[in-house]
């Protein structure tokens, strides 16, 4: 009994210790790189769809579907770890993320959910050029909603 509780206590301290250790070793620089890379992946896949929508590239249903599926998968990913506290543009250089983001997390999550819905709508409609064209605005609106509130303008 006593041994068990000591073991338990030890385990608890070890866990607490590693949490503290992790918190003091938040890799802000890496997190900023990661979220920028995530945005790059969004932009690249959007580009495949958008250039078809604009008529700059011939429509290719397979390529459109793959890009749309990628976008939906990217939007569904949990990116919480990319946004550690202390990584706003008030804390560090090389980011445009406004501190307001961390003060409005429920709103941020709502906007993420809107992006997920918009990318799923695109994935469901990417089989035709008209479908792609009709859904670009929805994704753009979802991106813009977050950027308008939480990204520093140039």
């Amino acid at each position: 009994m006593r041994i068990a509780s000591i073991t338990l206590l030890g385990a608890a301290i070890a866990v607490a210790g590693s949490v503290v250790l992790a918190a003091s070793h938040v890799n802000v620089e890496g997190a900023i790189k990661a979220r920028k890379a995530h945005m790059q992946l969004n932009a690249y896949n959007l580009g495949i769809l958008g250039n078809m929508a604009k008529g700059d590239v011939d429509f290719d249903a397979d390529a459109a579907q793959r890009a749309a599926d990628n976008l939906a998968a990217l939007a569904a990913m949990d990116t919480t770890a990319y946004w550690p506290p202390g990584s706003s543009n008030a804390d560090v250089e090389d980011t445009r993320a406004l501190p307001a983001m961390w003060d409005n997390i429920p709103d941020v999550l709502e906007k993420v959910a809107a992006l997920q819905a918009a990318t799923e709508a695109m994935a469901g409609a990417a089989g035709t050029l008209e479908g792609v064209q009709a859904n670009m605005g929805g994704i753009g609106g979802a991106c813009g909603a977050c950027h308008q509130s939480y990204r520093q303008t140039d």
């Binding site: 969004n42 932009a43 690249y44 959007l46 580009g47 958008g50 929508a53 604009k54 008529g55 700059d56 670009m136 605005g137 994704i139 753009g140 609106g141 991106c143 813009g144 909603a145 950027h147 308008q148 509130s149 990204r151 520093q152 303008t153 140039d154």
Partner: protein, 302 residues
């Protein structure tokens, strides 16, 4: 000496008279709108092209709430902070009791129904180019939007800019209804010019201002610092913006740049409005932007 004093007094009287005459709020009379019938669908188009909600909706309003024009957003500038007023259909707190002529005088002359000058944070220096037909239709459309009883926030403007009368001098210097871009325009470019220079008021942010806050029209749309402090508005003449018309139309529709970055800041709101316009109007603005005079970007500092 007496003659000199007399001369001085005469000079002061003339000066005061000129000041009085120049700074007097000028309004149009009812004839300008005579016989014009409102068209609600047109009024809705003018509402989106003019971007009314971007400034007059409540702070952070989204979705349907954007149609409640309760005001309250603050706009910082070197002259002070201006707060957008309630222009909802409430007859007391908003502008529900305004006539179409009241709206015309506000948008064309920058004068309130009580006869005082508005600050040019309200972009009447652009709206002055709006047609009477569009203003009458906009007036009718605004009446269909929800009422809000939100009280106006007073502007936070220091001396001497808090003397409204002096805005008459500003208008004398800077307010006119000439087109900025005067060239042989085809009908599409002409429509684009109307949307950009009158309703869309692009120049209000994208054109630099002089020390008195007047637009430097020789540097039309060549970019400007953000009066609120951080950041700047880009040069959107062909000297700096090499996007194709298709790129511009996509940007006005979805907010995506050719690199598939998305519009942010106030421009995200502008895109939301432009997306409500007919495609040919977005194409017209694109055509106009491709033909405005080239202003080469200023070399980077240092």
């Amino acid at each position: 000496m007496r003659r000199f004093l007399l001369f001085l007094v005469v000079l002061i009287v003339i000066g005061a008279a000129v000041f009085w005459w120049i700074t007097k709020p000028v309004t149009a009379s009812a004839e300008v709108l005579e016989g014009i019938e409102p068209d609600l669908a047109q009024g809705e188009l003018v509402f989106y092209a003019g971007g009314c909600a971007s400034c007059h909706a409540a702070v952070d309003a989204s979705g349907e709430d954007k149609l409640v024009l309760s005001g309250g957003q603050g706009f910082a500038s070197p002259f002070g902070t201006f707060y957008a007023p309630n222009i909802s259909s409430d007859p007391d707190a908003g502008i529900g009791d305004w006539s179409a002529l009241d709206l015309y005088n506000a948008m064309h002359n920058g004068v309130s129904p009580e006869g005082s000058h508005y600050y040019p944070a309200f972009p009447y220096a652009s709206y002055i180019r709006a047609t009477p037909e569009d203003i009458v239709s906009l007036h009718a459309f605004l009446q269909t939007l929800p009422a809000s009883d939100a009280a106006n926030t007073p502007h936070d403007v220091g001396f001497p800019f808090n003397i409204r009368r002096s805005l008459g001098g500003w208008k004398w210097l800077f307010l006119n209804d000439d087109w900025v871009v005067n060239a042989d325009l085809d009908p599409v470019q002409t429509r684009g010019r109307y949307l950009a220079e009158a309703l869309g008021h692009c120049g209000e942010c994208h054109t630099p201002r002089n020390a008195l806050g007047g637009l430097e029209t020789t540097k039309w749309l060549s970019g400007a610092p953000n009066p609120a402090g951080r950041g700047s508005f880009p040069n959107i003449t062909p000297g700096a913006l090499d996007w194709s018309e298709a790129d511009l139309i996509e940007y006005f529709t979805s907010g995506f740049t050719p690199d598939f970055d998305s519009a942010g800041g106030h421009m995200a709101l502008v895109v939301q409005n432009l997306a409500e316009l007919p495609e040919e109007d977005r194409a017209a603005i694109a055509a106009y932007l491709k033909m405005v005079p080239v202003v080469e970007p200023e070399p980077a500092d240092g």
